[in-house]
Amino acid sequence: MASPSMTQPGVPDQDMALAGPFADAQMSDQKTAISIRNLHKNFGDVEVLKGIDIDVAEGQVVSILGSSGSGKSTLLRCVNFLESPTMGEITIAGETIRTRSGNNGDLEAADMGQLNRLRTNVGMVFQGFNLWSHKTVLENVMEAPVFVQKRPVAECHDEACAYLEKVGIYEKRFSYPAHLSGGQQQRAAIARSLAMHPKVMLFDEPTSALDPELVGEVLRVMRALADEGRTMLVVTHEMGFAREVSNRVIFLEQGWIEEDGAPQTVFGASRSARFRQFIAAQPH
């Protein structure tokens, strides 16, 4: 089943996702931060995404759940074209990424300048951190603001320090990534994407590569970002985060949206038997 709540563009999921205690606050002056239309992705003969429609309103924190192979990471990577969609349309902050057919059957950006400009609006945090290993933490955080956004170095430096302070690794700013724990690296990576002032942040299983005792420090940072009202799309296996921090949960199953709604609704009584089964199988 495709999402029943996504049928009308411009009227994003008011029936389900915004139900609950936050609903009233978020219904007013809603703008769409990201709009995904009819997104398909094939890898060879395998259809990984079979037509996904999602509108993410500004300030929404969306958890994307699903078993491995359900296409959730692919979905996230298609949003900023790290993966080329086979079909579909991505709109970031009101601007649709212009595409043309590439030579392998997938779409490609028709205008790399536009894509790169839009990418600066979309911060991405990876499962494997992907900090630049030859640069210190501070250099990692300053890189994109200085060299992509071409903002004044002094301003970028002060801001980078503030973000590192915020994620709690200011003292480690002169260290290289290899000298940090996984949790510290991931917090540095979060600071790195914050430094671009993104309108949306994508998290691709940000805690899956961490030792269990380091998961908490990263989730705390993410919770603080959610509390600031940042727009976040989070692919995760952390049920606690999905349930408590996000205000919308999307469950992917075999390339379709199987469930989409407020956590209070879907964790309580989902209409999807598959989703209930998925939740029941999670460790508590």
Partner: protein, 241 residues
């Protein structure tokens, strides 16, 4: 017995060859590194034509002796009228430049395989992170891929420069008076092969010792990010925590 006064005399006669040896090696490697980078990028470009051209270049250069390449360039180019009448001829007829061209093509071919390995070693995730930040392809190469690839390739490339420095001795065969050329000249006058070549060999040894120390220092500097943290800073970190 070893005749030290004679060896000192040999040393004094061979020392003037050092600048020529160094020039050949450094000019050839300075230009050769661009050949290496170009060939490596062509091989990785995914374009069949570019890749084939680079593959053929590497195949020919690696498959033939440097000595023959030097001969072919030195004697061969004069065979072609269009080269003899081109504006390049004043340069191409000089044995000095012929030797540099041969050394440059040579080190470019070997170096391309080192550079290619370095480029392939760059972690995909770090490139994706750069793309997700909106970096253009040129910027990604300049800021992320090349710095990482150079660090990876540096030890092997240092080795290549040492090989190149020793290969300059072949330039003596086309009349260049670098260390080996001067040594051969002195031997033909004195017939004292062992002493002269002992001195010549020692000079190469000394140059390469300095060179390899330089590479090691550079490597240590560039690879700070992989080295273990200094004990002092680790203790400081623990104290802070």
């Amino acid at each position: 017995m070893i005749d030290f006064p004679f060896m000192y005399e040999a040393l004094m006669r061979l020392l003037p060859g050092i600048p020529m040896t160094l020039q050949l090696a450094f000019i050839a490697s300075a230009f050769g590194v661009f050949f290496a980078l170009a060939a490596a990028l062509m091989q990785l470009s995914g374009n069949v034509v570019l890749r084939s051209v680079a593959d053929f270049y590497v195949f020919c250069i690696r498959g033939t002796p440097l000595l023959i390449q030097i001969f072919l360039i030195y004697y061969g180019m004069g065979q072609f009228d269009f080269i003899r009448h081109s504006f390049m001829w004043p340069i191409l007829r000089e044995p000095y430049w012929c030797a540099i061209f041969a050394l440059m093509f040579n080190t470019g071919a070997y170096g391309s395989q080192i550079v290619r390995g370095g480029l392939l070693s760059v972690p995909r995730g770090q490139v994706e992170a750069a793309r997700s930040c909106g970096m253009s392809q040129v910027l990604i190469y300049r800021r992320i891929i090349l710095p990482l690839a150079i660090r990876q390739a540096l030890p092997a490339y240092g080795n290549e420069v040492i090989l190149l420095l020793k290969a300059t001795s072949l330039a003596s065969i086309i009349t260049l008076m670098e260390i080996t050329g001067l040594a051969a000249k002195m031997i033909s006058e004195t017939y004292r092969v062992v002493e002269v070549f002992l001195v010549a060999g020692s000079l190469y040894l000394l140059i390469n010792f300095i060179l390899s120390r330089g590479v090691a220092v550079l490597e240590k500097r560039l690879m700070r990010h992989t080295a273990a943290e200094r004990p002092s800073s680790r203790i400081a970190a623990r104290g802070a925590a």
